[in-house]
């Protein structure tokens, strides 16, 4: 019963039809939110007492690292669906989400590193967050490479899903385990460690940037997955009719 | 007694249909010879029958869940860093081992049974690989071009063996570019459609 239900609503065809109308709105909404959030953050939010203007990179850094992980969890859910219920769409979505995840993780790493230079005096620290983000990035690359290395795409889908699921266990483990290192915690010079300590004048634009980036990424994901579905199912009748 | 049946098997690989809607079955004491040019899909069909490859469409049904199958494909499945004797020890239990060494004898491999398999000649390695199938008792024997590289004497021995097995009620499927000295029904895989004679 569940299986039948899932298959009905998860055929590539219904996905394409469903997203047909929505994604232009998502793009417009996401991008405008993002621009709004960033403009607010960059030009109107006050300077940080300790860090001056360099803190403004937060509006890029924090949204991207949040989605770096969220996208992975999304992929893990898809992987489960692909393996348990053989949902083809799920595999397509993983394949389309992974490059976006890799990109946003890279942005997170990069922005963090840049931020580190003025604040920590070094662009790299072997602490929990940074290490786990780096490993997450490597995992994205691994998933993409794995899928890319098979000419039999169904085989590739299955193997990729297995890897995604095994990989998801890794993230909390790394966070936990690196946290044990007492001496490598983030230096105390960082003033913002919890949301409560952030001034609302910084928090609102940050919040808006997060939402904006979220919708932008969803729209981007829909775009890439649609084109990926078309290439994968290119000789199915409905695709031929659609295009 | 039917050993297995294949129904409406279609296999396509990257858009390319290898074969379409094949149906056939093999009974006990029956031999099926799959023919066809290089790349016509003989090996692929064997692997589908064995359940190692899933067909794009259609169904292979074996009539007995625990059907005992011996198979030899293009790959020899022997370890060339071991000697023939060690290879056989690895594969067989004690009873089969006696059979196996009889075959070593018959194939004239005795004098090389303690050489490294890597040093054996092409045909000798093939013979060793064949022994995996010959020394085991099974209900269905599946052979992918078993005559390749064998000399005449060995080919004859193999033909005789297979004929005896058929009489004993074993089913047989093989592919070969030369016709075996066995009474087989033929399945010819062609470029587009296949026929059973």
């Amino acid at each position: 019963m569940i299986t039948a239900f899932i298959h009905k609503f998860s055929s590539p065809k219904s996905f394409v039809n469903l997203t047909e109308k929505i994604y232009p709105f998502l793009i417009i909404f996401g991008v405008s939110m993002l621009i709004f959030g960033w403009a607010w953050g960059l030009f109107f939010a006050p300077q940080d007492a300790v860090q001056g203007n360099s803190y403004r990179i937060i509006f890029l850094h924090v949204p991207s690292v949040i989605f770096a992980e969220l996208i992975y969890f999304f992929m893990a859910v898809c992987a489960l669906m692909h393996l348990v219920w053989r949902v083809k769409l799920a595999a397509y979505l993983i394949k389309s989400a992974a490059p976006i995840g890799a990109m946003i993780t890279f942005i997170g790493l990069f922005s963090g590193s840049i931020w580190g230079i003025p604040t920590w005096g070094t662009w790299w620290q072997w602490d929990a967050r940074i290490t786990s983000t780096l490993i997450l990035f490597i995992m994205y690359l691994g998933i993409l490479t794995l899928h890319g290395s098979f000419s039999n795409l169904e085989k590739a889908d299955r193997l990729m899903s297995i890897l995604v699921i095994i990989g998801v266990i890794n993230i909390p483990i790394i966070k936990k385990s690196v946290d044990w290192w007492s001496t490598l915690h983030q230096p105390a010079s960082i003033s913002v460690s919890g949301s409560s300590s952030i001034d609302p004048s910084m928090l609102y634009p940050l919040f808006i940037s997060v939402i904006g980036l979220g919708f932008t990424l969803i729209a981007l994901g829909i775009l890439t997955s649609r084109s990926y579905i078309f290439t994968r199912e290119k000789n199915k009748r409905w695709v031929l009719e659609h295009v | 007694m039917k050993l297995f049946s294949a129904k409406n098997i279609t296999y396509s690989i990257n858009e390319n249909k290898l074969f379409h809607n094949l149906s056939f079955s093999v009974n006990a004491s029956e031999c099926l010879h799959i023919k066809g040019g290089n790349g016509s899909g003989k090996s692929t069909l064997l692997r589908i029958i064995l359940g190692m490859t899933s067909p794009s469409k259609g169904l292979v049904e074996s009539c007995n869940q625990d059907l005992d199958i011996s198979y030899l494909g293009h790959k020899n499945a022997i370890k060339n860093y071991l000697t023939p004797r060690e290879n056989l020890d690895l594969i067989f239990n004690n009873i089969e081992l006696k059979n196996a060494f009889e075959w070593v004898q018959k194939f004239g491999l005795s004098h090389v049974q303690d050489e490294l398999t890597a040093n054996l000649s092409f045909g000798q390695q093939k013979k060793l690989a064949l022994i995996r199938v010959l020394a085991k008792s099974s209900e269905l024997i599946v052979l992918d071009e078993p005559f390749v590289g064998l000399d005449h004497a060995a080919a004859d021995q193999l033909n005789n063996f297979l004929n005896t097995k058929l009489l004993q009620g074993v089913g047989l499927i093989l592919t070969s570019h030369i016709n075996p000295m066995i009474d087989c029904k033929v399945l010819e895989l062609g470029r587009n459609n296949a026929e059973i004679n």
Binding site: L146, I174, S177 | M52, K79, N80, D89
Partner: protein, 216 residues
């Protein structure tokens, strides 16, 4: 099952390549390290552990490279697939044999070297246990990476398995510190044993699924 374990042990024993090679690498890396640097004994003591840890990682990687590849390439894996209904047993036996004949000896060498570098004799057993458990974890993870990337080579294996192995490294580093400072060792060992058991049970099933996909 016994048949499989016996067969795997025999094959491994005949492949000096896969068996002695990693042990030698371990030894030579542990020798190479002090040679490469000009430091006092005090510093060396402090760092030697992490050298052991990293060597363990690398050696485990080298040791498991091509674990399933040979069987896949020469067609033996197909044959096992036909014969053995419980395919995961094949995988389990192989990993078991590799851990027993390569993983534990490597751990022994590591422990020996740490002992030679001034670790008390009481700690020897602890370190041996620790390194062996780590190898159990690492071998399972690398076997997974290997199965995924069978016949596509080490690159994929590294990309897929090493990220999974890093937590083991972190854990191991922490455990060794707990030996040095004599705190919480039992807890960590218990944790590692637990994880080890779970992984040893589950991984072969996952790996066999992966291998089946490849045979297809």
């Amino acid at each position: 099952m016994l048949r499989l374990i016996k067969a795997e042990s025999f094959k491994l024993s005949k492949k000096l390549k896969s068996w002695l090679g990693p042990l030698l690498i371990m030894v030579l890396v542990l020798i190479a390290f002090p040679l490469s640097i000009d430091i006092s004994q005090y510093d060396l003591d402090k760092f030697y552990f992490s050298i052991i840890v990293v060597s363990l990682l690398m050696t485990a990687f080298v040791a498991t490279e091509g674990m399933f590849e040979e069987d896949f390439e020469d067609g033996s894996l197909e044959q096992e697939f036909l014969i053995e209904k419980d395919f995961y047993k094949v995988v389990f036996s192989k990993i078991l044999v590799y851990v027993a004949f390569i993983g534990i000896p490597i751990a022994f060498i590591g422990a020996l070297f740490s002992f030679a570098n001034g670790v008390a004799i009481v700690s020897f057993a602890k370190i041996l246990l620790l390194l062996s458990l780590s190898n159990l974890l690492l071998f399972n993870l690398f076997a997974f990476g290997n199965a995924l990337s069978i016949n596509k080579g080490a690159m994929l294996g590294v990309l897929t398995a090493l990220p999974l192995a890093l937590p083991v490294i972190i854990l191991l580093g922490r455990a060794i510190r707990s030996i040095q400072f004599d705190e919480g060792f039992t807890a960590i060992i218990a944790l590692m044993t637990g994880i080890g058991l779970i992984i040893s049970a589950i991984m072969p099933i996952i790996i066999s699924a992966v291998l089946k996909t490849h045979i297809d």
